[in-house]
């Protein structure tokens, strides 16, 4: 069953490069929780264990795919987006949300027509994997618990073997997320340096008192901006390209544990490329919790520096949209 939500792109959803990745994920996850709550007939924030303790729906996996002509940068202020969500569940243990979206003038067909395509969707896709858990001591391991006050039988079944949670488990074992083609070559002559960030509890947390999953994108982007202009072991155009022109094609994020509110995180980013694809760059991000040096988040991304065919040139006469009054 597909659920539909509308989103108009406004200043809160953007940055200087148009639709902002972290902000898109916040909106998409909000739709996820709304849809899930409707399906299980209980708001997600009110889920409780049999003992009456809070049960949290934690994000363990995120995946984003953007066709070349529909990257984040091609979505502008006032674009009205149609967001189609499908939610599946593994019993009352875990859920998956798949969200396809596009401008309503490009996704205007009846739902059946919009969903009729062969191979990869022609629209941007965001996918979440969430697991129900209770907070363990110090944001460590997820304590096993299941919600007892909601029914999941109306949700389609998510396969036990093939689901986002298994992707995260495999990533924890292998250190890989299979976004970067295996034959791509490292651009780094040495181990990548770390970029450090101190958690801002007022900005980075949510109502559960935890560092919000979408804010991890901002941490990864910090590492990304530091990594891109680094000298490379062999010539690659990405080292001299304007970082503002980078466009995300595919990202996976695996969340293993969380950072504490007074913690620091260290991000290191390794770069990979192929001599036959000078327009693309692969990035692997490792985010370590400074308090115990534990790897708490792994991400891989595929970026392009080629201009999107849909990215319009700003006209000289076009008024500048200021976010702050002078």
């Amino acid at each position: 069953m597909w659920r539909e939500y509308a989103l108009t792109v406004g200043l809160p959803q953007t940055n200087y490069r148009n639709l902002a990745e972290a902000k898109l994920l916040m909106e998409a996850c909000n739709f996820f929780w709304r849809g899930l709550g409707e399906a299980i007939q209980c708001p997600v924030a009110q889920l409780r264990s049999a003992q009456g303790d809070p049960v949290y729906a934690t994000i363990a996996f995120v995946e984003e795919r953007f066709p070349m002509d529909r990257t984040l940068q091609t979505f502008h202020l006032d674009d009205r987006l149609r967001c189609l969500l499908r939610i599946r569940a593994i019993k009352n243990l875990a859920t998956e949300c798949l969200m396809m979206f596009d401008r309503e003038d490009r996704l205007a067909a009846p739902l059946d027509a919009a969903l009729s395509f062969d191979g990869a969707p022609p629209y941007p896709v965001v996918r979440f994997g969430s697991i129900f858990a209770a907070p363990g001591p110090g944001n460590g391991r997820l304590k096993l618990t299941v919600p007892a006050n909601a029914t999941f039988q109306d949700l389609a079944a998510l396969p036990l073997e093939d689901n986002p949670i298994q992707v995260t488990r495999r990533a924890q074992e292998t250190g890989r997320l299979d976004v970067i083609p295996p034959n791509w070559v490292s651009l780094d002559a040495d181990a990548p340096p770390e970029v450090s960030y101190t958690i801002d509890p007022d900005r980075d947390t949510n109502a559960a008192g935890l560092v919000y999953f979408a804010n991890y994108i901002a941490f990864l982007e910090m590492g990304e901006r530091s990594a891109l202009p680094r000298a490379s072991a062999w010539p690659h155009p990405s080292t001299s390209a304007d970082p503002a022109g980078r466009q995300l094609l595919h990202r996976r994020v695996a969340y293993f544990e969380n950072a504490g509110l007074s913690d620091r995180v260290a991000i290191s980013v390794s770069r990979f490329a192929s001599p036959t694809r000078p327009d693309q760059l692969g990035l692997r991000y490792q985010l370590v919790r400074a308090s115990d040096r534990k790897l708490i988040c792994l991400s891989e991304a595929l970026m392009t520096f080629a201009p999107s065919p849909q990215l319009p040139e700003r006209r000289a006469s076009e008024p500048h949209r200021a976010g702050v009054l002078p």
């Binding site: 264990s49 049999a50 003992q51 363990a60 593994i90 019993k91 009352n92 243990l93 875990a94 697991i131 129900f132 858990a133 363990g136 391991r141 997820l142 304590k143 096993l144 618990t145 299941v146 007892a148 036990l160 073997e161 689901n163 949670i165 298994q166 995260t168 488990r169 074992e173």
Partner: protein, 89 residues
Amino acid sequence: MSARTSDRILAFVQETFRNRLDPGQGLSSSTPLFSSQLIDSMGLIELLAFLEKEFGVSLEVTVDELTKLDTAANLAHEIERLQQARERV
């Protein structure tokens, strides 16, 4: 309870969650698996996938069931009960 079923479960747990075991920690059919947090929420999904594939059974997951099925021995007992119930149908 078949020792073989319990052994197969233990072998899977030992291999899959080896990074969570303390050095030198051994597993027995009476080692708590869930209450000890050896297997957390993510691990439970992997365990359920293994049990379904290996033994062809689907376990109910409630707090009461997880409390009762906290050891390889108890899991093996429940698996064999489900298998026998299926054969009687």
